[in-house]
């Protein structure tokens, strides 16, 4: 039996690639290697609805995989890749031969070494993580969130909504400062404070007190934060340790616009893929939901020999306290910002410019302006 297509990974890019392959007429063998025990599911609800106690379920019912001849390997991770033998080895010792491979193993949350091993320290990436964190929120103790990225902020919003006393600790002088600058970032700090979330900025965790459970966190500025649960949300790294020795880069697999890697018949998509950034002039790993969809579809279309789809630059969205936040472009490049609207009313747009040319747009409470923002950046 031929190896057919093997998809390493069971997230969004993997699922969309499988669907595009079957819809596009691929009728060979198709296997998906999912490290988690759950059928592929959508992650954005994990930091939103799931924390509020509403579960979304999987992308597709089990019957879909049967009807479409997609062999799901659940609860087993890819453990190694031999490009020459065209084989993926699995954590349970098996080896899968492939004709074509899609690397879509996503990313894993960064951890804080000084919090490792404590029972009440959470990260948020998987459904199991979200359920555990939901239990912690229902438990109602004091919650400390380390890192004020979007995941940390969404957790804070969910905790505040559930009436939990939440504290965000962020090393920078404002949430999202590296991306959006201190002024815009400060708006996010104010937003959370107005909902009763404590936001501590400009300091880091120095030590943890407790034995099996962290009872208090000591901050570098000398403060002591008593806590019942901790969430670490300090970013993610591509989940690619299994590529060690394969010749492909375990810090992010460089791909072209079709998702092709340097290895023959090996593609990559989603957080595992590093796409070329024409501004930075190098391949950069990571991305967001929309880029994972598009890369999964693009890689599948390339495997089918079909033309790539034309697509607008990916945008990112978050929902905080019923306010939709959208972002597109790269605000890191900006040297100036212009604001339109009323931040206090949660209804505004910020245009980031460099030498007068728009490089990014942030929309708060203005979802309908996204097409204008796209047009502005495309001009």
């Amino acid at each position: 039996m031929r190896g057919g297509i093997v998809i390493a990974g069971g997230g969004l890019a993997a699922q969309r690639a499988a669907e595009t392959l079957r819809r596009g007429g691929y009728d060979g063998r198709l296997r998906m290697i999912c490290a988690e025990h759950h059928r592929p599911y959508d992650r954005p609800p994990l930091s939103k609805e799931v924390l509020a106690g509403v579960e979304h379920g999987a992308f597709r019912p089990a019957a879909w995989y049967e009807e479409h001849g997609v062999e799901l390997e659940l609860g087993v991770a890819a453990a190694g890749l031999d490009c020459r033998q065209r084989a993926v080895s699995l954590a349970d010792g098996r080896e899968l031969r492939y004709d074509r491979l899609l690397i879509a193993t996503g990313s894993r949350p960064r951890r804080l070494a000084l919090l490792d091993g404590f029972a009440n320290v959470h990260t948020l990436r998987t459904l199991d993580d979200a359920r555990a964190l939901r239990t912690a929120i229902v438990d109602g103790g004091r919650l400390v969130i380390v890192g004020a990225g979007f995941v940390g902020q969404e957790v804070a919003a969910a905790a505040a909504r559930a009436g939990v006393q939440a504290t965000i600790v962020e090393a920078a002088a404002a949430p999202l400062q590296a991306l959006l600058g201190i002024e815009v970032g400060s708006w996010f700090a104010k937003l959370h404070r107005s909902h009763g979330v404590e936001v501590i900025l400009g300091t880091e965790i120095a030590a943890a007190r407790g034995t099996h459970h962290v009872e208090a966190l000591m901050l570098r500025d000398g403060r002591r934060l008593a806590c019942d649960h901790i969430v670490v949300g300090i970013g993610v790294d591509p989940d690619l340790a299994w590529l060690a020795g394969s010749g492909l880069d375990p810090t992010g697999v460089a791909v072209d616009a079709d998702g092709r890697t340097a290895a023959p018949d090996v593609f990559a998509a989603g957080d595992a893929a590093a796409t070329y950034d024409p501004v930075l002039r190098r391949h950069v790993p990571g991305g967001h939901w929309e880029s994972a969809v598009r890369q999964g579809v693009a890689a599948a279309r390339a495997m089918l020999g079909r033309e790539p789809q034309r697509s607008a630059p990916a945008s990112f969205w978050s929902d905080l306290y019923d306010t939709r936040v959208q972002y597109l472009g790269n605000a890191r490049l900006a040297d100036e910002t212009a604001i339109d609207g009323d931040p206090a009313a949660r209804d505004f747009a910020i245009t980031f410019t460099r030498d007068g040319a728009p490089v990014a747009v942030l929309l708060v409470g203005r979802p309908h302006e996204l097409p204008n923002a796209r047009a502005l950046l495309a001009a």
Partner: protein
């Protein structure tokens, strides 16, 4: 029902929210496609919840853009 929906297929990232609330109108393929018709309010609701703002709603009687 004078409203009609079209998909900006370059903007669509196939989130699937439209299909979830109006499966008789929208289906997700590589991107979303319009497969039927439905009440004006439902078209508008789908357009408003689309995270990519990829659904364009037009009044077919006046030809005017209704959303976005």
């Amino acid at each position: 029902m004078p409203y009609t929906a079209t998909i900006d297929s370059a903007a669509c990232a196939a989130h699937g929210d439209c299909e979830a609330i109006a499966p008789e109108i929208f289906a997700i393929e590589d991107v979303a496609v319009v497969v039927g018709t439905g009440p004006d309010e439902l078209l508008l609701e789908a357009a408003r919840i689309c995270p990519s703002v990829a659904i364009v709603v037009t009044d077919s009687e006046t030809g005017e853009a209704v959303y976005p």
